[in-house]
């Protein structure tokens, strides 16, 4: 077992350093998710004025997602199209990026467009990233390049985090001086975990 110690330690250190900024994003966003009132006071959402414009002809005959993508290309806007609402005379959809929400409403009869923005700021950017890709709108989720990359990164962070827990337990076990107090820490953690789940369920 001892012969693996140096290589496990090296991997634990490098992988841990790499994912630490992402763990920061996930941790800070938890606090923001849990205390939205506080965040609204610290970092209020800014609403710049709505922009009205007109589009050249848009190909409305393809899929809703392709139409929405064609619209944002013409408007020179990029981001993740969240969901699409369509009626006989309009198509509207939010285009999101971390910290910035843009809502686009197109009148398909006269090709006029209303663009509404919400600048949500850095703290809410972390919550957006935390909740993406998430369980909703799976059929169109990942229609932007950044979210495709983020999807891979979030998975990688989780798998690396799991590796860090196993390698961390191994590294701790090899340190004889920390064994007893470490066992107490595990026991305390297990006790707290079980108690809280028993309370909830």
């Amino acid at each position: 077992m001892k012969k693996y110690y140096p290589s496990v330690r090296t991997l634990h250190l490098y992988f841990g350093l790499f994912i630490s900024p992402f763990v920061l994003i996930f941790s800070i966003s938890v606090i923001i998710f849990n205390h939205p009132g506080l965040i609204n006071r610290l970092n209020p959402v800014q609403n710049p004025p709505t922009v009205k414009t007109k589009l050249d002809k848009i190909p409305y005959d393809s899929t809703d997602l392709q139409t929405a993508k064609a619209i944002i290309r013409k408007l020179n806007i990029n981001g993740e199209i969240d969901f699409i609402s369509k009626s006989d005379s309009s198509i509207s959809f939010p285009v999101n990026k971390p910290g910035l929400k843009t809502f686009i409403a197109v009148n398909t009869i006269n090709d006029s467009v209303l663009i509404t923005r919400k600048q949500e700021g850095t703290l809410r950017a972390t919550t957006y990233l935390h909740s993406m890709p998430g369980p909703h709108n799976a059929s169109i989720r990942g229609n932007s390049v950044f979210l495709k990359i983020w999807r891979i990164l979030t998975d990688a962070v989780v798998y690396v985090l799991l590796f860090l827990t196993f390698s961390g337990v191994f590294l701790w076990y090899m340190l004889k001086a920390e064994r007893v107090i470490g066992l107490y820490a595990i026991a305390l953690g297990v006790l707290f975990f079980i108690s809280i789940l028993l309370f909830i369920f």
């Binding site: 900024p21 910035l100 953690g189």
Partner: protein, 211 residues
């Protein structure tokens, strides 16, 4: 000399915190990692809890209180039915009240008719994957109504625990930087790896929205 001593102390305590806090949080890290994967991979067979939900309808006679205050009435109804959970979506009319009582993995849509004295509960029960998934985001917060506070003490405890776990993870990160900084000469690639990670995080949080 003093800065050397401070650095030594910082490293000593950073190491202690990193090891023991990490061990304490072990099960929570596994829980949130697993539930995060379930949330992001709805296409996995195990994630599909919705199709496997159990739905039941229970009709119970109830003694309706005469109070005009909705919270008094809710407390009275819940104590008669011996149910507990996070209450939301309350709608009250002169002759009836509708509300939802949620726990991770369990949702009850309640409708009480004060005239007939009948309570109709539509109960949804999720499987283990559904319970774990809903636990991940169970904080009693309504993002459309930020002033709303949790009304079930267990929600408060769980929310506080999630804050604590998040703070613990922040400490794990900070202690890891302190520990690495002391041995940075031996692990030279640490700079590269850390800058790569921070670069990517900064791109997503700060840069992306201005591009």
């Amino acid at each position: 000399m003093q800065s050397q001593r401070l650095s030594k102390e910082l490293n000593f305590w950073g190491r202690k915190v990193h090891i023991h806090l990490g061990l304490f949080l072990l099960l929570f890290i596994w829980l949130f990692s697993f539930s995060g994967l379930l949330l992001n991979h709805g296409d996995w067979k195990i994630s599909n809890f919705w199709d496997k939900r159990k739905e039941t309808q229970i009709v119970t006679p109830i003694h309706a209180s005469t109070s005009s205050d909705s919270s008094t009435r809710l407390k009275d109804i819940m104590s008669q039915l011996k149910i507990a959970g996070e209450i939301s979506d309350v709608k009250m009319w002169p002759d009836s009240i509708y509300f939802r009582v949620s726990k991770p993995g369990e949702v009850r849509n309640m409708e009480v008719n004060f005239i007939t004295g009948v309570c109709t509960q539509k109960e949804l029960q999720y499987n283990l994957a559904g319970k774990i998934r809903t636990l991940h985001s169970f904080n009693g917060v309504d993002k459309n109504n930020p002033g709303r506070q949790p009304n079930w003490i267990i929600t408060d405890i769980w929310r506080l625990s999630m804050d604590g776990i998040a703070t613990g993870l922040l400490l794990l990160c900070i202690s890891s930087w302190i520990m690495w900084f002391k041995i940075r000469e031996r692990y030279r690639w640490g700079w590269f790896v850390l800058i790569l990670g921070f670069g990517a995080a900064i791109y997503f949080i700060f840069v992306l929205r201005i591009l």
